[in-house]
């Protein structure tokens, strides 16, 4: 069962979240997305320094059964990736909003946040 999306962040239609702390945006996938994918066994992380473009593919997540693209919820430069996912990709299933974060990026354009949903709107999107 997916957990309620926290209201300290914003959400894309592709089921990624972004939480902004100052100039840094932490991004990940939602518990809804993780549940849909099933057991996640591999995450192809972006390189540090890579430039992400909002709503464009920046990596790949693989479940036992399928391969799915990761889409950047915001544009920016990758400052850090979650190396724990290399050895424990299942963190995306067990704690997608916390220790299963994927990357931290330096936010390119804060106005992009307006194109994302708040928790209530996202919860509505994924309901039923």
């Amino acid at each position: 069962m997916s957990t309620t999306p926290p209201d300290d962040r914003r959400y894309s239609r592709e089921h990624e979240w972004v939480r902004v702390e100052g100039a840094v945006a932490m991004i990940g996938i939602t518990s809804f997305a993780a549940d849909e994918l099933g057991d996640i066994v591999y995450v192809e992380l972006p390189e540090v320094g890579a430039r992400l473009t909002q709503f464009s593919s920046f990596g790949v997540v693989e479940s036992v059964k399928a391969v799915s693209d990761l889409f950047a919820p915001v544009s920016g430069e990758v400052a850090e990736v979650n190396g724990d996912l290399r050895t424990s990709p299942e963190l995306l299933n067990t704690d997608p909003f916390g220790s299963g974060w994927i990357a931290k990026v330096t936010l390119g354009d804060p106005a992009e946040m307006d194109k994302l949903m708040d928790a209530a709107a996202y919860a509505e999107l994924t309901a039923g």
Partner: protein, 374 residues
Amino acid sequence: MTEAPALLRHTPLHASHLALQARMVPYAGYEMPVQYTSIIDEHRTVRSAVGLFDLSHMGEIHLSGPEALAFVRYAVVSDPGLLEPGQAQYSMLCAPDGGIIDDVIVYRVEDGYLIVCNAANHDAVLAQLQSLGGRGDFDVQVSDRSDETALIAPQGPKAAELLARLTDLDLSTLGNYRSIQGRVAGTECLVARTGYTGEDGFELFCAARRAQRLWDALISTGEDLGLRPCGLGSRDTLRLEAGMPLYGNELDRSVNPYEANLGRVVKLEKGEFVGRGALAAVQQTGPQRKLVGLVMRDEAIARHGYPVLVDGTEAGSVTSGTLSPTLGERIAMAYLPAARAAVGAAVEVLVRERPHPAEQVKLPFYRRPKPDAA
């Protein structure tokens, strides 16, 4: 996501799958459970305890009549003439050009032969059998019992213990690829010691209207054995570890049995059968390509359709691949030119435009431990 097909069929256990909150997916025209909780957990349950599969989507076609044996010998590539009552064999129907129409299990039952085929190929198999039977060369009746038949498969090292609680049948004398008619939990079944998981296990064929009762009895009786319902997702990873082909991945109309390492199934010496000429020619020259096992040597997972490179040049493609839950390795099967198929040889798999190292290995990837001699 593709648009939902207009009408997906349901098995007799559909309501149970929904009640168990299975994730349902379209498969071969049916809405089927791909997983109930987790593919990995379900996979491990079958390797360590017992998993329960609803396979009622599969096709059951019954052959009877005075010339049923001659007919089935002509229709399939194996030799069902070798079957005693209560025995079964893995087989295939091939087209005249040797391409595989479907892989099936042929059971010799009391009143004829039962052919169990893949749901996705049900129509093609039925059409082939009806067309061969309709020529008037054989006094045979082909009857499609797919809709009236449910198939429930308890699979895993504790499957026999589970079943023994629910039947008076002597399972200790029921060997692999054997079947027996009898009651399980009060339901009349054809009990077959067959499966598609690489573990010990059974396939229980019963009347569709009795399926719910049987399923419920198995679920409640198996609880203390660690039984879980298992979906098609784990069925796929289990069969892949066991090196078993899946129609649509390893097998299709463009593949002949020799290419798929199934030449042992083909009995050219039994006399005329559909595909014999073409298959005899392949047997003479050897297949041009061969199905091989691959283990990835880095973190990448090979998937269906990914190109395989030999000496840096595209030479074949992956048919199935996953992270093996049992072995923790990234396993795959692929077709390569026969001359390049060699256990131990290095190849590369192109994953998202980048080559990743892999090694050819012997199939199967997983073989179940022999039971203790105790």
